[in-house]
């Protein structure tokens, strides 16, 4: 899932709001006219308008939050354990390392009355793989060689044994083949029809999408009858919407606005650790001082991890022992993690002969400047000079992903593969030759290559333990912390957010 991009303006507005919050009095619980909570309808503020309502196209957080309520997914994850559980598919078996067979729930209907069959599921994958469709999810399903459906049986073959296939199938929403082919992709995007717990009612492009409960859905009847998703890009405005009772829940809260909400009567903060990890990556090829593993080790000891979590993230983050979160399949539980030891870091810099050297830190406005500056200060404390080069996200990507590796020495980033798997981090970030990697280690490459075509979970975990062991010794990157998803909500809302940032309205309840 791609991050919803923060604008510098939003930060500015948030600061202004925080300054003003001191002189505003929160309204008392009952007096506010609750636009959203009349009966059982819910109003949700998202950071932006969904880029697409067709689940085959975009999969940014805001699009995901809306359209996943309209469609059923082939597989789901248990919100508590993150284990893969039945969705539309009730059972599945692996015939050989490259062939998977799924049995679909019978009696499921799309909201236009047509029955949902395996042919619809196969079609949902095929269209994502069709280059002409230009789906941004194409890369997630690139392991798939073919998908065929007959009756209730869906068969997927992969080009090579793919342990992450099931993971990506939890993101697959099933669309009605007949309707998509009849109305065309463009019309379907404007008026999507699915089999999920809610159906599309209306939209004002750029402003809001209204969904209503699908009373013929196969699952347990949701309590909320109607939901209005509103696009409110300014964080401060989302806070104001919650305080004035215009919204029942708001997504993409910052730790600062969360702290502000905790003091308001009638409101609460909901949060859950996600698979998104904050990390530092080094240029070990053309990074200057950071080509030296000693310097990288020194930097890993220079950072005050605890302070980042408690002071900057206000506790809405958890420590990690590698560039991965404990939620991921293959997380190396045995690794000792990083230590904060300024004295040792200083002596390592002395030993490496790097004292006083300047390293360039590349970043973009997408990433919290406070964290970037805190890290800069930490590294300067051990005797290096850090010059921050801040460019917009597009330029940043162009620079960092360039095969010439001349983007600087160190960068701060956030990573989420939306696959909850060790492979989704190790491979794209550190494997030789991938676009994000400025690191090359044949031993590490061999382990990751082997793991990504191994199905047996125990063997994979072992391989990743070794691979991540190498990363923690060689330090081409440092995991800083696991990021929480933060929501502001009315105290009347009962809901537990999960690691996938699933915004399933069917799981929400509003007390009257």
């Amino acid at each position: 899932m791609r991050t919803s991009r923060n604008l510098r303006m939003a930060a500015l507005i948030a600061t202004a709001a925080a300054a003003l919050a001191a002189c505003s009095t929160p309204p008392s619980g009952g007096t506010a006219p609750k636009a959203g909570s009349a009966g059982t309808s819910l109003t949700a503020d998202l950071a932006s308008y969904p880029a697409s309502l067709d689940p085959g196209l975009q999969y940014d957080t805001d699009s995901y939050s809306v359209y996943r309520n309209i469609f059923d997914q082939l597989l789901r994850r248990d919100p508590k354990t993150n284990k893969i559980v039945p969705g539309l598919a009730t059972s599945w078996t692996q015939k050989d390392p490259k062939t998977w067979v799924f049995t679909l729930r019978s009696g499921v209907k799309f909201s236009d009355g047509t029955p949902l069959t395996a042919a619809d599921a196969a079609f949902s994958i095929q269209r994502i793989l069709d280059p002409k469709f230009a789906s941004q999810q194409n890369a997630n399903f690139s392991a798939v060689a073919s998908a065929t459906g007959s009756g209730n049986t869906l068969t997927i073959t992969t080009k090579y044994p793919s342990p992450t296939l099931l993971s990506y199938l939890t993101t697959l929403s099933v669309v009605p083949k007949a309707d998509v082919q009849k109305v065309g992709n463009a019309a379907f995007n404007l008026h999507p029809i699915g089999s999920g717990p809610y159906t599309f009612v209306s939209s004002i492009p750029g402003s809001q999408v209204v969904l209503k409960r699908n009373d013929s859905w196969w699952g347990p009847k949701p309590q909320i009858k109607q939901v209005t998703f509103r696009a409110v890009p300014s964080g401060a405005s989302r806070v104001a919407d919650l305080k004035s009772g215009k919204a029942d829940i708001a997504d993409s809260m910052t730790p600062d606005s969360a702290t502000q909400l905790t003091g308001s009567s009638g409101l609460k903060v909901l949060s859950a650790p996600t698979e998104r990890v904050s990390y530092l990556a080094f240029n070990t090829i053309k990074g200057g001082a950071t080509n030296d593993p000693k310097v990288r080790q020194a930097i890993s000891m220079a950072i005050d991890y605890k302070s980042l979590i408690t002071n900057l993230e206000q506790g809405y983050a958890k420590p990690v022992n590698s560039v991965l979160t404990p939620l991921a399949e293959g997380y190396p539980t045995g690794l000792p993690g990083y230590t904060y030891d300024q004295a040792k870091a200083k002596s390592l810099i002395q030993q490496a002969g790097a004292k006083g050297k300047t390293i360039v830190m590349a970043t973009s406005p997408t990433y919290d400047p406070q964290i970037v500056q805190a890290i800069q200060a930490d590294i300067q404390d051990i005797g290096l000079k850090v010059s921050i080069q801040n460019t917009d996200q597009a330029t940043y990507l162009k620079k960092v992903q360039s095969p010439t590796h001349d983007w600087g020495s160190i960068r701060f980033g956030q990573w989420s593969c939306s696959c909850l798997d060790a492979d989704g981090v190790a491979y794209p970030l550190f494997h030789t030759g991938t676009i994000w990697s400025s690191y090359s280690n044949p031993q590490f490459d061999a382990l990751v290559d082997k793991a990504r075509q191994t199905i047996a979970p125990a063997t994979r975990t072992q391989l990743y333990a070794q691979a991540y062991g190498i990363l923690n010794k060689d330090l081409p990157g440092i995991g800083l912390f696991q990021i929480d998803a933060i929501y502001g909500a009315s105290a009347k809302l009962e809901w537990t957010p999960d690691a996938q940032q699933s915004f399933f309205v069917a799981d929400m309840k509003l007390a009257s």
Binding site: L20, S24, P26, N185, G206, R230, S237, S244, A394
Partner: protein, 319 residues
Amino acid sequence: MRAGAAAAVCRYLGIRLGQALIALFGVTTAVFFALRLSGDPAQLLAPQGASQADIAALRHQLGLDAPVWRQYLDYLGNLLHGDLGYSYVQHEPALTLITQRIPYTVNLALAALVLSAVLGVGAGMVMALNRGRWPERVLTPLVLVGQAMPAFWTGILLILVFSVTFNLLPSTGFNGFDSLILPAVTLASLSAATIARMTRGAVLEQLDRDYIRTARSKGAGTARLVTRHLARNISIPILTVLALEVANLLGGSVVTELIFAWPGIGQLTVQSVDGRDFPLIQAIVLLAAVVYIAVNFVTDIAYAVLDPRVTTTGKAAGP
């Protein structure tokens, strides 16, 4: 004599139209090439774990792997057929996306324009006619505050007071007339201040003139003085400022629309620039250029209508 004047008007219009077309061509070309220096949309669109091959495939689908001159010729060709392109991110024609949003921005900008014209001209007149007395002393700091407060601050302040504290008006979104008030006031505050200062200056300049003294000596009251004598003479400078403010209002709406979650062109602009949605950015810039040029054009004509002393050969007397 009349035929000669008509020919002069036609020639004038022809020249202005030609100039407008050249300006539009310049804008589209500059934007097209500047965008292609600013980063790769395929990198932004691809999922985080995408490989080099995935990104190359995406670039090919978007037609971004063709030589830039080729892309440019294709773009111009399509433009001449009225095809503004297809949004990379939203998978809809750019023209559709823009036309959906225009009514909201026009609504907001018009409301703000009317508000700022009424408040600005009114305050300016009162200040000039009461020079040195209490109305001026009360209004001057207000105008200064209006001039100094940026929209993102005014907007949040208004939301906190009128939505959060007193619960009188909706904080965000578009939902009828109620929801127009706060964004319109926010957007108008800056322009109103500018217009007020301008009006005050223009009126003061006129007050020393002979015709005003004559009118006064004939016993004209303040109301008659303003409506019959002053209004026409200060209309030209005010019109000039208003025309400039239209552009400012359209520009200022970016910030205001973000704060109030107003589904207009401003929000669309930010989204499209953020995602390097080339076709959409190009279309929006083209639209903005057309509006700007059209407003200038209409203003020039309005000069001639309001003040016969202004000739159509473009020697307008505006400051």
